[in-house]
Structures are given as structure tokens and as C-alpha cells.
Symmetry: C2
Subunit: 138 residues, 2 copies
């Protein structure tokens, strides 16, 4: 039975206390109890927070999060939850693919500029970006 204060949660999750209060205000962390008017976070609260961090950091907006979490309160409304989750999964898969592309682009730029530096040092001919440029497919 873990019970944490707001500053403990803040440190553990790398979120400012103001952010935690903000999330609660939006209705994202319902049912946070208080002792002497100070917040006390239980495991259920922290699990919600885990989800919030995951969804938010994977590109879900606050209002989408509100919608999703409202489906979990009322019912829970399995069909709507699954619809949102599936849609978000697709979105994250797309982001992953894009980010991998960008990562390749960046490593190629690193290789390119390293090659220029090499050439500069050895007096060899300047390399051509065309030889490094990522393919433009899609």
C-alpha cells in the first residue's frame, strides 16, 4: 500500500507538482485523496499517471486523454476505449516509422560531415551529399 506525497510523485515521475495538479484539474487523475488538505497518491492514482505519461508523450492531446479517461470512468465503455486505443496505436506506429527515417537522415548527415572533415584534413576531394542523401521513396 504505497502512498506518496505530491513532491515524491513529482520527483519519481519527473513532473512538476503544478503539472500534477493541472492534470487533476483536467480530470485525468480522479479520486486523489487528501490528508490535512495535502494530496496523497495511491497506486491506482500512479497507474493512471503512468498511462497519462505514456499517451501524452506518444502524441495524444490533453482533450483526447480526457475523452479516453472519461470512457474508463463510465462503464467502462469498452468499444470506445478500444476505438481510441487502436487509433492511437496506428498513430504511434506511424510516428515510429517517421522517426526511424529521420534518424537515418541524421546519421547520414553525420557521416557526410565527418567525411568532409576527413577530406579537409587529408586534402582528398570533397565528398558529395548526393552519395549520402537518403532515398526519397514515399
Amino acid at each position: 500500500m504505497t502512498e506518496l506525497t505530491i513532491s515524491e510523485v513529482s520527483k519519481q515521475y519527473h513532473l512538476a507538482p503544478s503539472t500534477l495538479r493541472y492534470y487533476e484539474r483536467l480530470g485525468l487523475i480522479p479520486g486523489v485523496r487528501k490528508r490535512n488538505n495535502h494530496r496523497v497518491y495511491n497506486e491506482a492514482n500512479l497507474e493512471k499517471l503512468n498511462s497519462i505519461v505514456c499517451f501524452k508523450n506518444s502524441g495524444m492531446s490533453m482533450s483526447e486523454l480526457q475523452t479516453l479517461l472519461s470512457y474508463q470512468e463510465t462503464g467502462p465503455d469498452l468499444d470506445n476505449i478500444l476505438a481510441v486505443l487502436n487509433e492511437h496505436e496506428v498513430s504511434v506506429a506511424r510516428q515510429l516509422a517517421q522517426l526511424e527515417k529521420y534518424h537515418r537522415h541524421i546519421t547520414q548527415k553525420v557521416a557526410f560531415y565527418s567525411a568532409i572533415k576527413e577530406a579537409e584534413a587529408t586534402g582528398a576531394p570533397r565528398p558529395d551529399w548526393a552519395d549520402y542523401k537518403p532515398g526519397d521513396e514515399q
Copy 2:
């Protein structure tokens, strides 16, 4: 010798014309020519734009981009370019790892709620999130 108008570039890159002008204002796309006071984008401009999109969408801020592109004008300043590029590559690699984790979390939630729906339909016992929850390592 490709030459595109602002609205053509806008469509091709899925960026509003106002965004293209904004980037230019920030100094991110230097040397855009004008014909009858209308912008004409050449291949060099578009290549810069490609880089901007890549770096921006992989989490680089506008001011970091300004810094990076300033290193490319003056010199170019290979050491500073490489420093920024290497740092950003590390950042993107981290983002990729995190996003993969989030993706796993989300697919597990999908599986969990699908299992609940199944159980609801068949009258089987309700599944337990503990059996789906991603490991909390790190």
C-alpha cells in the same frame, strides 16, 4: 532546374505558406529568390526545407535549428555542425527507444481491453491488468 511557387511547395511539403514565410523570416531558408516579388524556390531551398522538416519533426527547436543552420552558412563550421548533429542523433535514438516502449504499452492495453471484451461476451472471468502490464525496468 526545378522552380516552385510558394503554394506548390506548400502542397508538396504539407506546410502552410505562412509557415514557409515564417521559416524564412527566422533565417532557416536563406537565399530564396523572387520574381515579381513572388517567392521562387530552387532545389537548394528545398533541400534546406527537407532538413528543417527532419530536424524539427525529430524534436529540434527553432532556435537550435537557427544555430545549426548558421554554422552551415559561415564556414561551414564543421566541428560545431558535427557536435550539434551528434547530440541530436543521441536525442533521436533516445526518443525512438521511448516511443517503442510506449508502443508496447499501448498494444498491451489494446490486448487487455480486447480480453475484457471477450470475457464480457463469454462470461469468462475478467482478465487482470497485472498479466498485461509492461515490465517497469529502467
